[in-house]
């Protein structure tokens, strides 16, 4: 089998790609997609660890399932937020959404 470290490196790389997307993309939907990439990287990690460390107990799988749930919830709420922002401002460029500034 392919060794564990390969999976970990793949996952780390995917995570960092996602990270870059979150930091650098202008469009909010793209940011959301990047977040999904990061979550997937985490899931890959969990499943890989499960396979190589505790294959008899479904610990990693269970957590991966929970991550899946969180991802689904996040996508739904995030996209709803983006939609409602789009309705108000007619754009979703993250840089210009600076309401946090006083």
């Amino acid at each position: 089998m392919v060794p564990l470290s390969w999976y970990l490196i793949t996952s780390a790389l995917l995570f960092c790609i996602g990270l870059y997307g979150v930091f650098a993309r202008r469009n909010a939907v793209a940011v959301l997609m990047s977040i999904e990439l990061m979550l997937n990287a985490v899931n890959l990690n969990l499943v890989a660890f499960w396979r190589f460390q505790t294959p008899t107990r479904p610990v990693g799988l269970a957590f991966a399932v929970f991550v899946l749930v969180v991802a689904a919830a996040e996508a739904a709420v995030g996209l709803a937020l983006i939609l409602s922002i789009y309705r108000q401002r007619k754009h979703i460029v993250v840089e210009d959404l600076d309401l946090l500034k006083l």
Binding site: L19, V22, F23, V31, V94, D98, L100, K101, L102
Partner: protein
């Protein structure tokens, strides 16, 4: 269904009505149709559980069931610092099985009947319609808890829940007042019922506590099925009293029954309980409240009779039960002769029939008592619901005739309802005949006959004190049976025979189908329920093992009670007294029906005695003078004037003034020191915040990568610099 799931079922039986109570009270209080739907559904679910249990129990066989009751127990309360646990749980043994069939059936009929009785969908719909169903559900939950309980404590919980519910339901029309100031109002009746039964309950609680100190457990299985424990309790004497521990506990527990099952001298609450709506009366009289008392002593019978052998000298509680039970039976029957309120007659007949059961236990006829409990529940529920239907019809008549002063419950105002309310008439007739014990056909005959046969056997074969006790029971019960048949005929004659005596009965009409259907169901059982207890050797015939109830319920005891051999004398006595009573009633009330305005035909021959009977031997007046008035005096003078106003109020006022003085000084400290300090701190914080706010640019992504950059920097610092 597998055993593990099955074991969960008993404890589930009380849950649906309990849930229904909370649902109705909390959520559906304003939605009437939903309220009664929930209540009826809950009962049906409980009935379903009961039937599932019954089917499974029957398939297991009585013997297996008795030794391995269905049910489970959890550890509930730690005692002695977690070393020992008070067990709580539910179980179903053969005796419970019998109860689990008839209790839900009767309760279902009653709740279903209430839909019609409380006037759903008509202009007579009750103001507190939902509340009624909530309380009925709670009542049912209490009774189910009591039935499935596997220990005295849980049984007592159900017992007390029912006490509360009877209070709430008897006083259901709490704002009702009568023109006649002497007439008991629902409020007073409720309080009376609550306090009277409380006397018994307190004594019973003493008995439970004493039992617990002696055995260290309250579980039925641990006490009643353990011959060693029973023997120990029966042979050890209570210090200072010439009576065994089991005897004393038995007497104390029996006191609870005296209160709950309205035995002499605590019977006074039951007739007054008629002030509640009729379904409540039916509930109290058949399936729930009073049955609970008898069920408890039937359940505890091995303890009550500990040390007694079949035919041997009776134990102290048995003597008490025999004496009180038989006396109550006769006593109540005589009162019932001279009552005119349709429900009160039934109330006194209930007291008498409960006396039957208690007396049967007194002579050791355990199964006969249980059997009579079941048959009685059916026909008494039938009679009460029937009387409710009659009253309903009469009130309709009152409405129609616009006459609201004539008492709709007075039998002398009725008459001739036979043709107006045919369904009610026929079902009521069946119930009445079952109550009188019409030979061979009705359920009442078989159970009464068994009690009489048992007491005759005790009279002839009993050793020690059992023979005279048996004689006492046999004779009093036989007389009572004759009286029962007589006043039943009187009642039916007055209500249904002859011509209508008032406008009310002239315009009465049949009730709705929701009220008729339960009557029919109950009438069916009022006849057939007796067939499961026909003696094996009835009339000397070899009928095989047809006495199903004896064999099934008898398995609950450690020693299976042997059936007595058949004897013609009690059978003939029982047939004779019944026919005598029925015949007498027929001659006096049916042949020449009472006409309007005429007094009761009994008034003339009985004379003064009639007045005494009509006033119930002046028991209420005696209790009023002996107990109620002195208590009131103490409450008003000693407790209120002296203790409350003088001592307690004085101390409170002193404390209040002192505290007020201190508080003035505390306030000064608060204003200057604490408030001032906090204000200063706030100003400093504001200054700081003003300095720092310039850092924020408002771009999330910038924040994110900045923070991660710092995090990375720290991580590299940790790895490459600090770890070297």
């Amino acid at each position: 269904m597998d055993r593990e799931l099955l074991n969960l079922l008993p404890i589930l039986v009380p849950i649906p009505p309990l849930a229904a109570f909370f649902l109705i009270v909390l959520f559906t209080n304003r939605v009437r149709w939903l309220s009664h739907t929930i209540a009826v559904l809950a009962t049906i679910i409980s009935l379903g559980f009961g039937v599932v249990l019954l089917v499974n129990g029957l398939s297991m066989g009585a013997h297996d069931l008795a030794h391995h009751p269905i049910g489970n127990t959890i550890e509930w309360l730690p005692i002695d610092g977690f070393s020992n646990w008070l067990q709580m749980g539910a179980m179903t043994d053969p005796l419970t099985m019998g109860m689990l069939f008839f209790v839900p059936t009767a309760i279902f009929c009653i709740i279903f009947y209430s839909i019609g009785y409380m006037g759903y969908g008509t202009e007579h719909e009750d103001r507190d319609y939902s509340r009624f169903f909530a309380f009925l559900s709670l009542f049912a939950a209490g009774m189910f808890t009591l039935v499935v309980a596997d220990n005295l404590l849980l049984l007592f919980v159900g017992w007390e829940v029912m006490g509360l519910c009877s209070y709430l339901l008897i006083g259901f029309w709490y704002d009702k007042n009568y023109d006649d100031p002497d007439k008991t109002t629902p409020r007073q009746a409720a309080v009376k019922a609550f306090i009277t039964t409380r006397i018994g309950d307190v004594i019973m609680l003493l008995g439970i506590a004493y039992l617990y100190t002696q055995t260290g457990t309250l579980s039925f299985a641990a006490i009643l099925r353990d011959e060693q424990v029973l023997h120990q309790l029966a042979t050890t004497l209570v210090p200072g009293m010439g009576i065994s521990i089991a005897g004393l506990i038995g007497l104390l527990l029996f006191a609870g029954t005296v209160g709950k099952s309205a035995q002499f001298p605590l019977h006074v609450w039951l007739p007054d309980a008629m002030e509640g709506p009729t379904p409540v009366s039916a509930m109290i009289h058949s399936a729930a409240m009073v049955s609970a008392g008898v069920y408890m002593i039937v359940r505890m019978f091995p303890l009550l009779s500990a040390g007694w052998e079949h035919g041997g000298p009776p134990t102290a509680p048995m003597v008490a039960m025999g004496l009180i039970g038989a006396f109550t039976a006769l006593f109540a029957s005589t009162i019932a002769l001279a009552q005119n309120d349709v429900k009160r007659v039934l109330a006194y007949s209930t007291i008498a029939q409960l006396g039957y059961m208690v007396a049967a236990l007194g002579i050791g006829a355990y199964i006969a008592a249980a059997f009579h409990l079941i048959t009685h529940a059916f026909f008494k529920a039938l009679l009460f619901l029937g009387s409710g239907s009659i009253i309903h019809g009469m009130e309709h008549g009152a409405h129609h005739a616009n006459d609201h002063h004539t008492d709709a419950q007075d039998m002398l105002n009725m008459g001739g309802l036979r043709t107006k309310m045919p369904w009610t008439f026929w079902t009521f007739l069946i119930g009445g005949l079952a109550l009188s014990g019409l030979p061979l056909v009705t359920a009442g005959f078989w159970s009464k006959d068994e009690i009489l046969a048992e007491s005759f056997y005790a009279m002839t074969h009993g050793a020690g004190g059992l023979a005279p006790l048996g004689a006492w029971v046999f004779i009093l019960l036989a007389v009572s049976a004759a009286l029962t048949a007589f006043y039943t005929m009187r009642q039916i004659g007055l209500i249904f025979w002859g011509k209508p005596r008032t406008k009310l009965s002239k315009h009465a009409h049949e009730s709705s189908w929701t009220m008729i259907l339960p009557l029919v169901i109950l009438a069916f059982f009022a006849i057939t329920a007796g067939w499961m207890g026909i003696p094996d050797d009835f009339m000397g015939l070899e009928l095989g093992e047809i006495n199903f109830f004896h064999h099934f319920a008898g398995a609950s005891l450690v020693v299976h009670p042997e059936g007595i051999t058949f004897n013609w004398i009690p059978l003939l006595t029982s047939v004779f007294v019944v026919l005598l009573g029925l015949g007498g009633g027929y001659l006096i009330y049916w042949k020449e029906p009472v006409k309007a305005g005429e007094p009761d035909p009994l008034v003339k021959p009985l004379g003064r005695l009639y007045t005494v009977l009509h006033n119930k031997y002046y028991f209420d007046e005696f209790y009023q003078a002996a107990f109620v008035e002195p208590t009131k005096w103490v409450a008003a003078k000693v407790v209120y004037e002296w203790m409350d106003r003088g001592i307690i109020d004085g101390i409170l006022h002193f404390v209040g003034r002192t505290t007020g003085g201190i508080a003035t000084y505390v306030r000064l400290f608060d204003v200057h020191v604490i408030n001032g300090g906090v204000d200063w701190l706030k100003d400093r914080f504001l200054d700081g915040a003003r300095e720092f706010r310039t850092i924020q640019a408002g771009k999330i992504q910038e924040y994110m990568w900045l923070s991660l950059l710092i995090g990375c920097a720290f991580a590299y610092l940790l790895i490459f610099v600090l770890s070297r």
